[in-house]
Structure formats: C-alpha cells, structure tokens
C-alpha cells in the first residue's frame, strides 16, 4: 500500500520569508514523489517530481523539494515566499514497484503568505 501524510493543515508565513510544507510517505519499494498546487476552483497544477537521482529537486515558480529516504520525507521549500504563493498544496506518491499506477495524495496543506 502507498500513503502520504501532510501533518499541517495550515501554514502561515510572511512575504519574503522562507517557507516549508511538510510531507512524509509510506511505500513498500522506492517512491515516485510529486507536489501539486491548487488554486480556488482550479485543477491541480504540477510543481515538481522526484523519480531518481539528485535528492534536491527544483521545480516551477522557485519551489524545490528534498527527498530524504531515511526519514521518508519530501518537504516542499521556497527561499522567499510571495503573496501569490497562497494556495492549497498536495504531496502525492506512487510506489515504483507496486501494482498501482495511480498517485495517492495527502490531505493537503493550505499555505497563506501574509503581506
């Protein structure tokens, strides 16, 4: 089975400060890991993914995430937050060796960047 936990329902950060949105995962084998962002009344927009290789992944809009196998984590980070980053963020996983082809999502973290 594959699962994802996002321990924070809400993260607030001041504009210009660094932000972190936490994600931990559980799979039987090795993971494919994804971050998506969702704005109100919109679908899911892809930010970045980890497949293999370098543990630090850089994605869209200045976001990055670090894969940590020992801690089974894939936290999303940005050095300097913008008000326009305020949105709902989802972490998702798929087990590389599993039979499932779909992503399993976390419950989401609402990020609010305060001006």
């Amino acid at each position: 089975a594959q699962s994802v936990a996002q321990p924070e329902d809400q993260v607030n950060v001041a504009e210009g400060n660094p932000l972190t949105v936490k994600c931990t995962y559980s799979v039987s084998g090795n993971p494919y890991l994804f971050w998506y962002v969702q704005y109100p009344n919109r679908g899911l927009q892809f930010l970045l993914k980890y497949i293999t290789g370098d543990n630090l992944v850089k994605g869209s809009y200045g976001f990055e995430a670090e894969f940590n196998k020992s801690q089974t984590s894939f936290h999303l980070k940005k050095p300097s937050a913008l008000v326009s980053d305020s949105a709902l963020y989802f972490c998702a996983v798929r087990d590389m060796g599993g039979s499932a082809r779909q992503l399993t999502f976390g419950s989401g973290t609402q990020l609010t960047v305060l001006p």
Binding site: F46, R101, L103, G106
Partner: protein
Amino acid sequence: GAGVSQSPRYKVAKRGQDVALRCDPISGHVSLFWYQQALGQGPEFLTYFQNEAQLDKSGLPSDRFFAERPEGSVSTLKIQRTQQEDSAVYLCASSSGQGGSYGYTFGSGTRLTVV
C-alpha cells in the same frame, strides 16, 4: 489538445438524477485516471484506464459509479441515481505512459452539486 479538458465545468443535479462527466485527455496519452475530491480534502482515486481497458476500478465507491473509455481516448464517468454524498469535484488526469516517471497532467475538474 494542449491539456486535459473536462466538461461540464459545473453540474447541478437533483437527487436521484443520472449524470455523465466527460474527460478529453492529452492526445496520445495512453493512461487515464479519475479522482474524486471532496471539499477541503485530497483527491481520492476512483479508476484507471490503459487505452480502452479499465485495469483498476477499486476506488469506485458503489455500483452507481461507472466509467468507460471505448476508443482509448475520451472517457466518461457516469453516476446513476445521484446522492448528496456524491457532491464533489471530479478530476481527470492523463499520462503518456503508465504514470510514474511519465508524470500526470490534471484537468480543471467538474464540480458536481447534488441538491
């Protein structure tokens, strides 16, 4: 097309009515996924197609839910005798491979409200 297209964008149905939701995946994408997203929650997997074959329908919540992709491109999710608990956003995603490293592109979703 350039992205995954879903229609209608919004649907209001009276309890007991049948509805059909359409997904146009990216041209050439072999894999297609349907998800259900309740308000404030992460997307939950419903079903997966590889070309015209429905390989996984383990997430369909009841026998009132039915999906098809007869020609391996456009897919329709049908809900019979809608209930209030069916109110949600229904998301479609497609992938050029079997998901995983190929990534997943999501549509903007159909918001279903059952009254």
